[in-house]
Amino acid sequence: MSHQRPDGVTPSQTVGPYFKYGLTPNGEYAWNDAFTNNLVTPDTSGERIRVEGKVYDGDGAVVPDSMLEIWQADAQGRFCDPQDKRALPNSSFKGFGRVGTDAGGGYAFDTIKPGQVADPDGKPQAPHIVLAVFARGMLLHLYTRIYFDDEASNASDPVLALVPADRRATLIARRKADSGNAVYTLDIHLQGDNETVFFDV
């Protein structure tokens, strides 16, 4: 079926304050979750990690009504998407997760450390997760990235290199020293001195 060429994309609108029962019910509403914050399947290879943090607004107040979505490669740096023309991932790892922040603005994802993905010139990027932030008061979601502070390849990452040095830390999750499991923390600041770097993609 062919359609007239549209005169543009459908404009974005905010998720508003009431998305939770539809998008992140998490057992609190009579609706089932299509996605959760746990991306790990039994057959997933790679290092199990948790990424957690809080979301803050311009007053430094926690944001209890935001939704975070992540998209990432598997441990071999391959995406679970037929558009990734390389060998398909060998597990049921899908690479997508979603969570609503809790009353304290907190979020967490259980996943695996992604492998390296090449940039358009074939240059390897440091391991990273793409993060989309949605919230009441956000008319269009924002994209940022999660990097890891224990990756030497951060120093040569072509995307981090675009970010002023004094703002790079807003993209780099820090591994908790005392954790047996690999737990990384990264807070998201929508505004303020530590405003998270968001990308124009």
Binding site: G8, P11, A34, W71, Q83, D119
Partner: protein
């Protein structure tokens, strides 16, 4: 052919800082976004099979013991790319207030009744041509605290996945002829009239089911278009 995602397409979206919608003041970034080339991380996106969607998840009127109160409606249309090609097999989620303008969400304290037979959430997958269809009830308008006598026009929230993570869209579908349009800062955060019109469903008499339900058509256009030979490097 590979899809391209020119930044110009983003011009249709609202400015993140839209002061008339007060909540944007503390939640819109104050520093400029950093431009970057799209890598595979941006150009790929989640792909979901039918396992995500159960039979009847697209019918919000049969999720409980009895039918919800309100005006039963059919909402259908196509998920399209910027060239007007159907986007097949993508997840379409929706959520909405009930016929009285009340959400089941615990934070919603609008003194209008909840309907024990209506949750207000649904999902479906577009078919091979990009077509999707929901059966629901028409949501009511409701007040919100943005300014004195602020009322949201009746709307249905949509969440749509496309060919890539950067074609992801969350939007709201409105109903034609709503008298609240001129007064709603969220609707009017889209400053171009033609772009605003793309958020308004059209009444679809042809697909209205006699003796049963009115029908509205809502096509959803996601980022992504194919390069023409002139545009390739």
């Amino acid at each position: 052919m590979t899809l391209q995602y020119p930044l110009q397409s983003l011009a249709a979206h609202p400015a993140r800082l839209s002061p008339a919608y007060r909540s944007t003041l503390k939640r819109a970034p104050t520093k400029p976004l950093i431009p970057m080339r799209h890598t595979l991380s941006e150009l790929t996106g989640p792909v979901y099979g039918h396992e995500t969607v159960r039979e009847h998840d697209n019918d919000l009127t049969i999720q409980h013991k009895s039918e919800p109160l309100g005006e039963r409606i059919i909402v259908h249309g196509h998920v399209l790319d910027e060239d007007g090609r159907g986007v097949p097999n993508v997840l379409v989620e929706l959520w909405q207030a009930n016929a009285c303008g009340r959400y089941i969400h615990v934070v919603d304290q609008h003194p209008a009744p909840l309907d024990p037979n209506f949750t207000g959430a649904g999902r479906t997958q577009s078919d091979a041509t990009g077509y999707y269809k929901f059966i629901t009830i028409k949501p009511g308008a409701y007040p919100w605290g943005n300014h004195h006598n602020a009322w949201r026009p009746a709307h249905i929230h949509f969440s749509v996945f496309g060919h890539s993570f950067i074609s992801r869209l969350v939007t709201q579908m409105y109903f034609p002829g709503d008298p609240l349009f001129p007064f709603d800062p969220i609707f009017n955060s889209v400053t171009d009239e033609k772009a605003r019109a793309r958020m308004i469903s059209s009444f679809d008499l042809e697909n209205t089911k006699p003796e049963w339900a009115l029908c509205y058509r809502f096509d959803i256009v996601l980022r992504g278009r194919y390069a023409t030979p002139m545009e390739t490097k």
